[in-house]
């Protein structure tokens, strides 16, 4: 499975401090907060059409694709995501693909990837295509091969805003941990 790894030094250092003083729960919360923030930002940026890949752009949609997306919207058969607009390239129709973004922590690094979760098939059909609905992971791979990368490791790492925000999350968690430590030490 293709994964994208991130390692943020400040976060790792904070985790080491929290862990070495037995504040393991706090350290897990910090990991989770960082991961959820990054996933939320990756999803939001993709849907606003400014993906966190190296070019911060999606390829333009072909006229034929726009026509199909338009027909799908007009049919009203499928519930579409609020950020779906037929001519706008943002890897979003129903929202299932971007929602399948998830994370895991392994060997001190955060891995972000698209789950192999099943996709709800479209009620709106084009032609006589009866192929099995791909998983979200398979769809992501197919879209990536066509240039629709809604995030890449280097794209996320290059984001100044993400770095700033991760630093802020870490600082705030550490400051809160001081208060908690004193409460725990007192017991």
């Amino acid at each position: 499975m293709a994964k994208v790894n991130f390692k943020f030094d400040s976060r790792s250092a904070a985790n080491k401090v929290l862990k070495s003083f037995g504040k393991v729960k706090k350290s897990r919360q910090l990991n989770k907060e960082v991961a959820e923030f990054i996933i939320g930002r990756v999803a939001g940026e993709a849907r606003r059409g400014k993906p966190l890949n190296d070019s911060r752009k999606f390829p333009k949609l072909k006229d034929s694709s726009v026509a199909i997306r338009d027909a799908l919207k007009k049919s009203g058969l499928d519930k579409t995501h609020p950020a779906f607009t037929p001519p706008f390239s943002n890897v979003t129709i129903t929202g299932q693909l971007v929602d399948a973004l998830t994370f895991i922590f392994r060997f001190g690094a955060l891995e972000i990837f698209v789950k192999k979760s099943p996709r709800k098939p479209y009620k709106f059909k084009v032609g006589k295509n009866k192929e099995k609905t791909p998983s979200n992971y398979d769809l992501d791979q197919e879209l990536r091969s066509r240039g629709f990368k809604f995030f890449t490791g280097s794209g996320v790492k290059k984001s100044v805003q993400i770095r700033k925000r991760v630093n802020t999350i870490v600082k705030k968690a550490l400051r809160r941990a001081i208060g908690v430590s004193q409460k725990l030490d007192k017991l």
Binding site: S10, A13, A14, V17, S20, F21, K23, F37, R41, G44, E45, A46, R47, R48, G49, H81, P82, A83, T85, F88, N90, Q161, K164, R165, N167, T168, I169, V170, K171, K172, L174, R175, R176, A177, I178, G179, S181, Q182, K183, D185, K186
Partner: protein, 195 residues
């Protein structure tokens, strides 16, 4: 209790801990960092729940943030992309503005909470005053920055045991190893952020 300064180039509030808490915190940096964070958390959580803080003179009053968002903003791609709701006014799209509220300085008993980043300062100014920075364009005033004395009292009560134990520790043996490690790391992160 001093009201926050809301200017185009300065958004900050100074809190005199000795005056507000009745305790001398000189030297107890860990507790001051912790209290400052509690104040920041209060501003963020209040704003995210749709409540703001309107200052008239030196005293602030909690107010509901003007709702709903404009039709134009609610129809924008950014609004939809981040899953916002028209009636839920919480001044949060990416969350960058609220998360940029940080400690500007800690000197003696004086804490200064504010926004340093230029872009976020502009956004906060526009929301707080209802005026866009470089145009005559008006938007609803949604003041959110700052804490009032009621909120500070709640924070003081929350931290009463920490304040006592910190002051005792200060008199007896200084910083704990954990505090020293955390403060060292905070200094490093702050230094990295500036470079």
């Amino acid at each position: 209790m001093s009201a926050p300064i809301i200017k185009k180039n300065k958004i900050e509030q100074t809190i005199d801990l000795k005056k507000e808490f009745g305790v001398d915190f000189t030297g107890a940096r860990a507790v001051k960092e912790s209290i400052a964070q509690a104040i920041i958390d209060k501003i963020v959580s209040r704003t995210k729940s749709g409540r703001g803080m309107l200052f008239k003179g030196q005293e602030g009053k909690e107010v509901k943030l003007k709702s709903p968002y404009s039709k134009m903003y609610a129809g924008s791609q950014d609004f939809k992309a981040f899953g916002k709701k028209k009636s839920k006014v919480n001044l949060t799209l990416t969350g960058d503005m609220l998360e940029s509220i940080d400690i500007k300085s800690i000197k003696g008993n004086e804490l200064v909470i504010g926004i340093v980043e230029r872009v976020e300062k502009k956004k906060a100014y526009a929301h707080s005053t209802g005026k866009e920075n470089d145009s005559k364009l008006k938007m609803p005033q949604r003041p959110f920055f700052g804490v009032n004395s009621k909120e500070l009292t709640a924070i003081k009560n929350k931290f009463s045991s920490e304040i006592k134990s910190a002051l005792r520790a200060k008199q007896e043996e200084g910083k704990s190893a954990f505090e020293a490690a955390v403060l060292g790391l905070l200094d490093r992160i702050n230094k990295d952020g500036k470079s």
